[in-house]
């Protein structure tokens, strides 16, 4: 009888011993995990054409880019172009919010000082095919604009671009960039309008390396008979993009580049070029 009593008591008391561990927890997760921003191109620009990517709010980006005059085809005598001279660009960009950035950049070609604003206006396809669209509006002032026959100069240029990008699969980013430029040729008698259509693509081969190419279809003009095209590789790190490229264009700033180039895209006209950007958190 006593044994039975102890057994029953033990059975009834067992739950008390584990009660602390089995208490139901009232906590519940109150919000979902942070949504991961979509991206298509990793860098805010391809070789010359803009992508729909922007800086984060408060982020700065410094750029130095070169276009070497001598083509690779000049060989060792010009150190395959590295002897120079070069067209140079220095740029500084700032993200005024997570979708918009302003860029000030200067090219030594015509002392072209360029200011533009890019705003990402659309993005979609988080669960399927990421798509992003941005618009760019800018103006450039040329410090060494040529003096025209009437003694005046037309130093100011204005342009607008739209860049629509899509990520196909996980590695192939593709974009189209229609551009409008007012006053493309500084020494023309009259200010003109120029239109071009850029196509850019980039294959992200690994976490840090990709292959890029772009082609800007432009109207044929005197001294700018050919489309500007560029291809190369991009290395990306935690804060840098290194673009090492071959191109038939020596022109860097948007108001200079979209008008075209005097060099064909034949291999003998390929020149070495690079862009280096560095993100700076202040």
């Amino acid at each position: 009888m006593l044994r039975r009593g102890l057994l029953i008591t033990a059975m009834l008391l067992v739950p008390l011993g584990v009660r602390g561990q089995d208490r139901p927890v009232r906590w519940q997760r109150t919000s979902d995990a942070t949504e991961i921003p979509i991206f298509v191109f990793h860098s805010p620009q391809s070789a010359n054409l803009p992508t729909a990517e922007t800086l984060l709010k408060g982020e700065w980006q410094f750029e130095i880019s070169h276009r070497f005059f001598p083509p690779f085809s000049e060989g060792y005598s010009a150190l395959w172009g590295l002897d120079g001279p070069v067209n140079n660009r220095l740029g500084l960009a700032y993200g005024f919010n997570d979708r918009g950035m302003v860029t000030l950049q200067r090219s030594n070609l015509d002392d072209n000082l360029d200011l533009n604003v890019k705003v990402r206006v659309f993005e979609a396809g988080r669960e399927s095919t990421p798509v992003m669209v941005a618009v760019v509006a800018g103006t450039a002032w040329n410090g060494t604009a040529p003096v025209l026959s009437d003694g005046s100069t037309r130093a100011w240029q204005y342009y607008g671009q739209l860049t629509a990008n899509v990520l196909l699969g996980e590695r192939f980013a593709l974009g189209v960039v229609p551009s409008f430029l007012r006053n493309p040729v500084l020494d023309a008698d009259q200010a003109e309008n120029a239109f071009s259509l850029g196509i850019l693509g980039q294959v992200y081969v690994s976490q840090h390396m990709s292959v890029l190419g772009e082609w800007n279809i432009s109207e044929e003009r005197t001294d700018f008979e050919y489309d500007a095209a560029t291809f190369g590789i991009e290395l990306e790190t935690g804060g840098h993009f290194f673009k090492l490229m071959a191109t038939n264009s020596l022109r860097l700033n948007p108001a200079q580049f979209v008008v075209g180039t005097p060099y064909s895209f034949a291999p003998r006209e390929w020149r070495f070029s690079f862009n280096v950007t560095r993100l700076l958190p202040f």
Binding site: G20, R26, P281
Partner: protein, 217 residues
Amino acid sequence: MRPLNAPRGVRSLLPGRSPTGIRVFLLVCGLLAGLPIGVAGQEFHVDPDADNEVRFTSQAPIEEVVGITDRIDGYVLLNGPRLEAGSATEGTQLYLEVDLASLDTGLGLRNRHMRSNYLEVEEFPYAFFNATIGRVETVAAGMFRVTAQGVLNIHGVDREMEVPCDVSERGEGYRVRCTFNTLLSDFDIKIPRLMFLKLANEVRLELDFTVQPAPDP
């Protein structure tokens, strides 16, 4: 006479046949069973409105990389109503989770690399620490040194960890600060080797958060 509501298998085990004896027995059991209710442990939740911060620091030779988020959540289950030195730790629970996609290193590009390439947050959105309180020592009035023992999961990999935390009373709740080091390689996180990527294998993790008593159900 059989006790009411007792399962058939249990009835045959009940001692005695006297209704009075059974009633007394049940009363005693009921009293015993009711005793722990009076000393039930308190549940605390991470207060999302407090100044919480989770920080990782990678101190590499050339550059220090710091990632910060305030997206920490979780709960603490104590054995008693308050934390006390030397208090029993059986049955205590500590669960913390950090929303990894919210970590900000100050550079969007670096955030993207961290999310996509290293932490793979689409697959492993949270890092979590599931532990029990192992030791409680009083440091000063209202301040404790607590050691939590459990499993830290990052990048889908479990690692047994012992995490020391400084706990101080804050109103009805507590402010908790935990600091410990861990190795990225322990969690199968690939360390970037490319030039200008300067993450050290050893990173310091700092958790600073406030817990408040769980709201009544």
